[in-house]
Symmetry: C2
DNA sequence: CCGATAGATCAACGGTCCTTGATGGGAGGT
DNA sequence: ACCTCCCATCAAGGACCGTTGATCTATCGG
């Protein structure tokens, strides 16, 4: 029973971070594990400032973490925000299920 | 193991629909069950055309369904898109978990 | 030190999204 | 038929978002 109301702002931030093709592609790449920005720009053939922008959005939403190693910045998935996501979706799912069964006619 | 790549567009649509405070508030209200637009505008003190716009976004994303009864349009949660959401989040979660365990040092 | 590299940040532009008020259309009531 | 109610749709305006190229910072190698 997530008390969603006070955390609506956070949910908006989370879903907004996920509502972009480039950012979803970044997350998809990060599923393979930690990667630095230069690897990502190379693999995705995207301008560096563009990815930097999107990585910041993902980081601000708590979806990724960054780690510095010399000149390189490594990004990786963060399970923190993802668990919040799961709660949000779960709560929706339960409500949708109960609504469906209540509507069941036959 | 969701084949996410081809359905990125759909994921973007889904997450975009969820990335708005008004729309999340609508979903929250619909958790209590089917409601008509006039009930929603009344409860949320929002302009009718505004809610109509947002309900259309939610409907286009597959998150809600509508049903006509006389003069009234009733909206309710649809479990269809929500299950897709669940898959997307699940896939992210697994990747984040495995990344975390791979990074575990001590 | 100096140059080169990795990446963040900034300003400007174009596009998309949300809001608002007005209009239109369908369904009932009389 | 007419009027009323419920809702969708439209056009206009403003706000926000993503892209791009340039600039700035920090780190490493010589």
């Amino acid at each position: 029973m997530a008390a969603v109301a006070p955390s609506i702002k956070k949910a908006v931030t989370l879903f907004h971070a996920l509502s972009d093709e480039t950012r979803l592609a970044l997350l998809e790449r990060l599923k393979d594990g930690e990667q630095c920005v230069c690897e990502l720009t190379d693999a995705m053939k995207a301008a560096q400032s563009r990815l930097s922008f999107h990585l910041k959005v993902l980081k601000d939403a708590g979806l990724v973490e960054d780690r510095r190693d010399g000149r390189w910045m490594y990004y990786s998935l963060s399970s923190q925000a993802i668990e919040e996501l799961e709660d949000l979706v779960d709560s929706l799912k339960k409500a949708a299920k109960s609504a469906a069964s209540a509507r069941c006619c036959c």
